[in-house]
């Protein structure tokens, strides 16, 4: 019985954190936003050297062969640094789909290149969790028609897309009949967009079905929760540091109880989220009967806490919190996007209720 991180896991988390810090942290996200560019290839290269892009890919395919717990630890770091890099789609979901449903040929072609950071992959899954604007993909005899919104890791070379029947396909970004429309969200750190398919010839992942789609959703949800955990922790840390140095009425504002208690409430709500994310990731790896419900609960709960921390940490900073100068809003917005992706708290709680037989 051991519920905690191993030394290797802590080291992985630290080295990813250090790399993102050295890469510029928030400054890099700001620079990206200012330049109007939507891609940061240098991060992917560096992360692949750390083994992150092939994190769950077997070593025989050029990966690191680790588990989803490590994936969650990396996601937490990306959230903490509001990092503008593809990860959930490219490093985790696409390799997972290929491993579980791809042919040996598809695996051999894509897994090593994804792990090496030579190729990025986006995931079109949002419609599986709740379609908006009647979006959705019809797949017939390998031909795709329809729309997919809010693609994860949208700035990609390759897409893994799901149709309404729960089948999965590989579609290159250059496929004839595929039109991309950028969508601008609050969060500049993770560009997204819409894919429109008109008679696109797609390559099926033969082993895929609704169960795999469900698994991809659960994994993605857990990773969004981990990202929020990291982002919220970063906001709390900044609030505590600010409150300890900023003075009003001749004393640090952090010595006023109203401020102190805001910080205590954030910490009290957030700290159990860490164990919850670990447990949720462990469940995805090892406890199949709990994995789905735990993923729903984890994303719902961590999103609620994240939203609370995002506003409260901003408030602790006073007017400064509201400005672009401190840049807290980058984390605020990252948490805001994570919250809605693949189901907001209400939708996920409803899903958990259905999965546990509470809905007749």
């Amino acid at each position: 019985m051991e519920f905690g991180l191993s030394e290797e896991q802590v080291m992985l988390q630290q080295s990813v954190g250090r790399f993102l810090e050295d890469a510029g942290g928030l400054a890099q996200t700001r620079a990206l936003a200012a330049s109007g560019a939507r891609r940061t290839p240098d991060l992917v290269t560096g992360l692949s050297e750390l083994g992150v892009m092939g994190l769950i890919t077997p070593e025989s395919q050029g990966g690191t062969g680790l588990s989803l717990l490590e994936a969650a630890l990396v996601a937490e770091q990306l959230g903490a640094h509001v990092s503008p890099t593809p990860f959930i789609g490219t490093a985790i979901l696409a390799p997972l789909a290929l491993q579980l449903a791809g042919s040996p040929g598809q695996q051999g072609l894509w897994l090593p290149r994804l792990a090496a950071g030579q190729v990025t992959a986006g995931l079109a899954l949002s419609e599986q969790a709740g379609g908006r604007e009647d979006a959705g993909l019809e797949g017939r005899n390998g031909i795709l028609n329809g729309r997919a919104l809010f693609v994860i890791d949208y700035e990609a070379d390759l897409y893994v897309v799901a149709d309404t029947a729960g089948r999965l396909y590989l579609v290159p970004a250059t496929a004839p009949g595929l039109v991309r429309t950028d969508l601008t969200t609050i969060d500049v750190s993770r560009p997204t967009g819409e894919l429109r398919f008109t008679g696109v010839v797609a390559e099926p992942l033969a082993g895929a079905g609704p169960d795999l789609v469900q698994r991809l959703l659960d994994v993605a949800r857990l990773l969004f929760a981990a990202d929020t955990l990291g982002a919220a922790q970063a906001m709390l840390d900044q609030a505590v540091a600010y409150a300890s140095s900023r003075e009003q009425f001749g004393r640090p504002i952090g010595s006023f109880q109203a401020v102190k208690h805001m910080c205590a409430e954030m910490a009290a709500a957030l700290e159990p989220c860490r164990a919850m994310v670990w447990y949720g990731a462990h469940a995805l790896d090892h406890l199949p009967s709990e994995a789905h419900v735990t993923a729903c609960h984890t994303k719902a709960h961590v999103s609620e806490v994240g939203t609370f921390v995002a506003r409260t940490a901003t408030e602790v900073h006073g007017g400064m919190g509201f400005t672009d100068l401190v840049g807290l809003h980058y984390w605020f917005k990252r948490i805001g996007l994570n919250r809605q992706m693949l189901g907001g708290p209400q939708a996920l709680r409803d899903e958990a209720a259905r999965a546990t037989g509470l809905v007749s």
């Binding site: 019985m1 905690g4 952090g254 208690h261 910080c263 910490a267 164990a275 209720a353």
Partner: protein
């Protein structure tokens, strides 16, 4: 990360289960002589007082946190009483084990464990609540006795207790935290008057306790003179954690789900009302988060590591959540949820209203939520302390 138990621990789980199969039906529902007999049986098998030395009336096993956890998991699964509780067993015994003299351990631990000696905790006073170190009950040495004068308040079970462990100011000239001693004395000692206080649940479980020239033999002190604050604090953290057990919360959550499956409004089951269901699921998510946090604490304890923030947040989060859980049940029942006491229509013996109020008591008792936030921010986050007021 490995949530499995070793073969030794799994075998132990098997033993606990077979004990529960054989003896579980004998387990008492309430107090009285049956409860004492049950306690004796539990100690004999090592399911109560497990790690307390045999010489002091315990079972004498090596400490093994996982085995203790297995016992509490299996007893709770079987819904069987884990034996006697109370402040004597949960607070005084660990204090004596750490700070008591050999004679005190021999005299007090055994009878306390067997339920022959019931204790109350005399800490709070009218002017010493959150600011406990402000306590003013005086103890003056006169010959071989401490002579005690003053008043305690909120003393739970004082009316049932045989003995009291009590914080008393014995060094009036020392700084506030260094002038307190930790004394033990019989509640039958002349000069003690107990006045019950009725609480909001309607029970009178706590009391005012008045001391007038109460004489206590000088050796009935734990630790040295003036060390009482330190003695009391050795186990205060332990009490806080135990007020908010997330596994108990899970049991209560299951009861809430049962209630929502049966309770109807206009013929519609509460569980089928999406608003109620969403509130239920939100609470379920929060209970899950605290159970995961609890696993982290368990693992840290097994590895002799400090728990840091993860431990400091438990009392605040746990008691507040439990209060909300009980509140949801009341909302689900609507007007029926206001029924209380001996009345037709009552659900679950009125336990939802009673617990809703009782847990507000626990939010206040054992260090209020505001005090918990002070502790979390100052000790957990290292935030600046409040400037001290100039001493008058």
């Amino acid at each position: 990360m490995d949530l499995s138990y070793s073969p030794e621990h799994e075998a132990f789980r098997g033993e606990v289960r077979s004990f529960l199969e054989t003896h579980g039906t004998q387990a008492p529902r309430g107090g009285g002589p049956e409860a004492l007999a049950w306690q004796t049986l539990l100690i004999a098998h090592g399911y109560a007082a497990r790690t307390i030395p045999k010489a002091y009336g315990g079972f004498g096993a090596e400490p093994d946190i996982l085995k203790s956890r297995i016992i509490s998991e299996e007893f709770s699964r079987a819904q069987v009483s884990t034996g006697l509780g109370g402040q004597g067993i949960s607070m005084l015994v660990p204090t004596l084990l750490e700070m008591g003299t050999e004679a005190q351990k021999r005299d007090f631990i055994g009878p306390t464990l067997r339920g022959e000696m019931v204790w109350c905790q005399g800490y709070s006073e009218p002017n010493a609540g959150s600011d406990l170190a402000n306590l003013a009950t005086r103890g003056t040495l006169d010959g071989d006795d401490w002579v005690i004068n003053g008043q305690k308040i909120w003393t739970s079970t004082a009316h049932l207790a045989d003995w009291i462990f009590c914080l008393v100011r014995t060094e009036p000239d020392a700084p506030k935290h260094q002038g307190i001693s930790f004394l033990l004395f019989s509640m039958k000692t002349p000069g003690i008057e107990i006045r019950p206080l009725v609480d909001m649940t309607g029970a009178a479980n706590f009391n005012e306790v008045f001391f007038t020239d109460v004489r206590v033999p000088k050796e009935q002190i734990v630790g040295r003179r003036g060390e009482g604050w330190k003695v009391a604090n050795t186990i205060l953290g332990h009490e806080r954690g135990s007020l908010a057990d997330p596994n108990q919360m899970q049991t209560r959550l299951n009861a809430l789900i049962d209630l929502m499956r049966t309770e109807t409004v206009g013929g519609v089951r509460a569980i089928d009302n999406p608003v109620f269901r969403d509130r239920l699921m939100a609470i379920q998510g929060r209970v899950l988060a605290l159970r995961c946090n609890d696993l982290r604490l368990l693992s840290a304890a097994v590895n002799h590591q400090g728990a840091g923030l993860a431990g400091l947040v438990v009392k605040l989060q746990g008691t507040e959540l439990r209060h909300e859980l009980e509140a949801l049940a009341i909302d689900v029942m609507g007007e029926m949820g206001t029924l209380y006491g001996d009345t037709p229509g009552l659900r679950d013996q009125g336990s939802w209203q009673r617990n809703y109020m009782y847990f507000l008591g626990l939010i206040i008792g054992g260090g209020t939520s505001q005090i918990q936030k002070n502790i979390i921010s100052e000790r957990g986050l290292g935030m600046p302390r409040e400037p001290k007021l100039a001493q008058a």
